[in-house]
């Protein structure tokens, strides 16, 4: 039988591809437009010409201000919160996956924290940080983000750990490892793709967070989402700067997902492939 016989009729294929292309454009076109605006002089931002010249003016204007500092803040806060939350999430996730630790109540409680509207958490967080003199500090923001990430990362990692065959741990236990040894030497190395995937997701979550950053940070500690919002001034929206800021903001995410894609896919499909 030829391969052609298996294919659907040509009309159906054309329709299918047209639909897919339309959907891709819906996602990609706005990004391309942002990219175009960012590299066009501010006065030509709304020009109807497709590419009226090339200029790095927006980027220069943006980086001459506090944006560079915000960028650094975002990296510190996102990385820091993930690095703090991940080890705890791994241990809690493993305990939830393998033992009856805390029972159903603990698992419910962890999910319940994700159901609260962020606004309900912002003011208590602010009060807490104020008491500790940590408002307007990166340390405070890192701690709060770590706390926000913890239940989410725990839940994801619990799934990864559940997917690891328990035989592996049993083998380690009979080989002479303690429960901790089996976790440290066998489970953690085996779930590296899962840890990487969870880490990236946590990073993205912190990177994009706006509300807490707005309330808890000050001028010197503001993160990118806050800095971008600040470009909406009394003189109107500086669309060129915003575009440049957006491009810079998504840059690390593009790079991270490019490098981590393998792990992410491997991690997210860990259980189903086995």
């Amino acid at each position: 039988m030829s391969a052609d016989a298996d294919k659907p009729p040509i009309a159906r294929r054309v329709a299918l591809h047209a639909g897919l292309i339309a959907m891709c454009l819906a996602i990609v076109l706005p990004l391309l437009w942002v990219l175009r605006v960012s590299f066009v002089a501010p006065e030509q931002s709304y020009s109807t010409t497709l590419l009226p010249g090339f200029s790095t003016q927006n980027y220069q204007a943006l980086l001459s201000g506090r944006f560079g500092r915000s960028y650094l803040n975002s990296i510190v806060v996102s990385l820091g919160s993930v690095l703090i939350a991940l080890p705890f999430a791994a241990m809690t996730g493993y305990a939830f996956a393998r033992f009856s630790t805390g029972g159903r109540f603990a698992r419910f409680l962890m999910l319940a924290t994700q159901m609260l509207p962020p606004v309900a958490l912002v003011l208590p967080s602010f009060t807490l940080l104020k008491g500790l003199a940590l408002t307007n500090s990166l340390t405070g923001l890192v701690l709060v983000y770590a706390a926000l990430n913890l239940p989410f990362l725990t839940w994801i990692l619990m799934g990864f750990f559940k997917a690891i065959p328990v035989d592996l741990e049993w083998a380690a236990l009979t080989d002479g490892a303690t429960a901790w040894g089996a976790f440290w030497r066998i489970v953690l190395p085996v779930s590296l793709p899962g840890l990487a995937a969870a880490g990236v997701l946590g990073f993205i979550l912190s990177w994009n967070e706006f509300l807490f950053a707005l309330v808890l940070s000050g001028p010197s500690t503001q993160t990118i989402p806050v800095a971008l919002a600040a470009l909406q001034t009394s003189n109107g929206v500086q669309i060129g700067n915003v575009a440049a800021g957006v491009v810079l903001a998504i840059l690390p995410l593009v790079v991270a997902s490019r490098f981590i894609q393998r792990f992410l896919v491997e991690g997210l499909t860990y259980g189903s492939v086995k």
């Binding site: 049993w170 083998a171 236990l173 080989d175």
Partner: protein
């Protein structure tokens, strides 16, 4: 070196069901014991309780003289080979095999020496630096075995280690495991649902069903004298013919009557044991290999079989057919004949049954009606 003693060991799950119930078993030092049973019968659970991977709900477990109920797996000096092999995927073969020694604080030099020795024993010398993903099923199996051997444990626990191999490799590994056991002389428990493995590998078979130990004994003893219908059905393939018949006293002899001319006389040797059941319905158990195409002297008795199917396996022929029971409900009988028999489906042939090894079972309790064993004191 260690014996294993299970005393009324039970596993009770939180939902109230028993995984294992009141198992009493003593396994002598150096013995090779098979746990045999259908899936879910509790054989793997028992193995895991011995390994310390599952808690014991009731009863006591001794390895050697020591009560192991609360001893963690790492302090029991047992090695487990899992059905999935459970090789550490991120470690090389060398690291996999050395892991147990490392955990027990062996020196680097000692780990290297023992790993190399064991690898040579199992023919894994060339594979030491490979990761498990780069090995074939048979090689992974050997590594799993090597990982167990290298530690020189008191007890080997094998949880269906051959079930993922193809037929030929399985036969090879079966032999190798037996040889290995002879060489190392360690107490070994092998869990399987494969009757060929059970019959050929162990000193003793323990047949389990629904969490209970049904029968334990030497393979040929169990084969010759199954305690109930379950064991009779389970232990051989094709399984024992189990025919509902009537046992009656006629003119001084005890007759097995399957209706429509299927009649046998109970051998004199068994009359005393079976006479009290005369006049009742019983299940007549006749192994397919106790049926012959020609008379074997005075010990066989003829019957007619309407052949419905013939399976020529090369070395032997498996006949399926019906006999007795009346036309409405004839009895299905399977016979195992030599390859020289010339039989075709649709024919009615006269075959000859050896009644001496046959058994009668109580249809209600399903247990075998006791009679003197042909295997003497064995």
């Amino acid at each position: 070196m260690a014996s294993i003693d299970l005393r009324s060991v039970s596993k009770l799950y939180p939902n109230g069901s028993y995984g294992v119930r009141d198992v009493d078993l003593r396994i002598e030092n150096g013995e090779f014991v098979i746990f045999l049973g259908p899936s879910g019968c509790g054989k793997s659970t028992t193995l895991r309780m011995i390994a310390g991977l599952e808690s014991i709900s009731a009863g006591d477990l001794f390895i050697g003289d020591r009560n192991m109920n609360r001893v963690p797996p790492r302090d029991r000096n047992v090695a487990v080979v899992f059905q999935s092999y459970a090789l550490y995927p991120h470690m090389s073969v060398r690291a996999n095999m050395g892991f147990g020694l490392k955990m027990r604080g062996a020196t680097g030099e000692e780990i290297a020496r023992k790993t190399e020795e064991t690898a040579a024993l199992l023919g894994l010398g060339q594979l030491l630096d490979r990761k498990p993903a780069a090995l074939s099923g048979g090689q992974r199996q050997r590594v799993a075995l090597g990982r167990a051997i290298v530690r020189e444990p008191d007890v080997f626990l094998l949880d269906e280690p051959l079930s993922n191999l193809d037929a030929q490799l399985r036969a090879e590994m079966r032999l190798e495991l037996v040889k290995l056991h002879r060489r190392l002389g360690r107490t070994t428990i092998h869990v399987t649902h494969d009757q060929v493995e059970a019959m050929t590998m162990g000193d003793r078979i323990c047949i389990m069903r629904e969490g209970r130990l049904i029968q334990a004994g030497r393979p040929l003893d169990i084969y010759a004298d199954p305690v109930n219908l379950f064991v009779a059905r389970f232990l051989a393939s094709p399984a024992m013919n189990l025919l509902p018949v009537r046992l009656s006293q006629e003119a001084g002899s005890l007759v097995i009557d399957g209706g429509e001319g299927l009649r046998f006389t109970v051998p004199a040797r068994h009359v005393a044991a079976y006479a009290p059941h005369a006049g009742t319905q019983v299940i007549f158990g006749l192994r397919p290999e106790d049926i012959y195409e020609a008379p074997q002297g005075a010990r066989t008795q003829p019957f007619a079989l309407r052949v419905t199917a013939v399976e020529a396996l090369g070395a032997e022929i498996i006949l399926s057919g019906t006999a007795g029971g009346g036309t409405a409900r004839p009895l299905e009988i399977t016979a195992r004949l030599s390859r020289h028999a010339r039989v075709q489906a649709g024919e009615t042939v006269t075959l000859h049954a050896d009644l001496l090894p046959a058994h009668l079972f109580d249809p209600v309790s399903e247990t075998a009606i006791a009679r003197p064993s042909l295997r003497g004191a064995a």
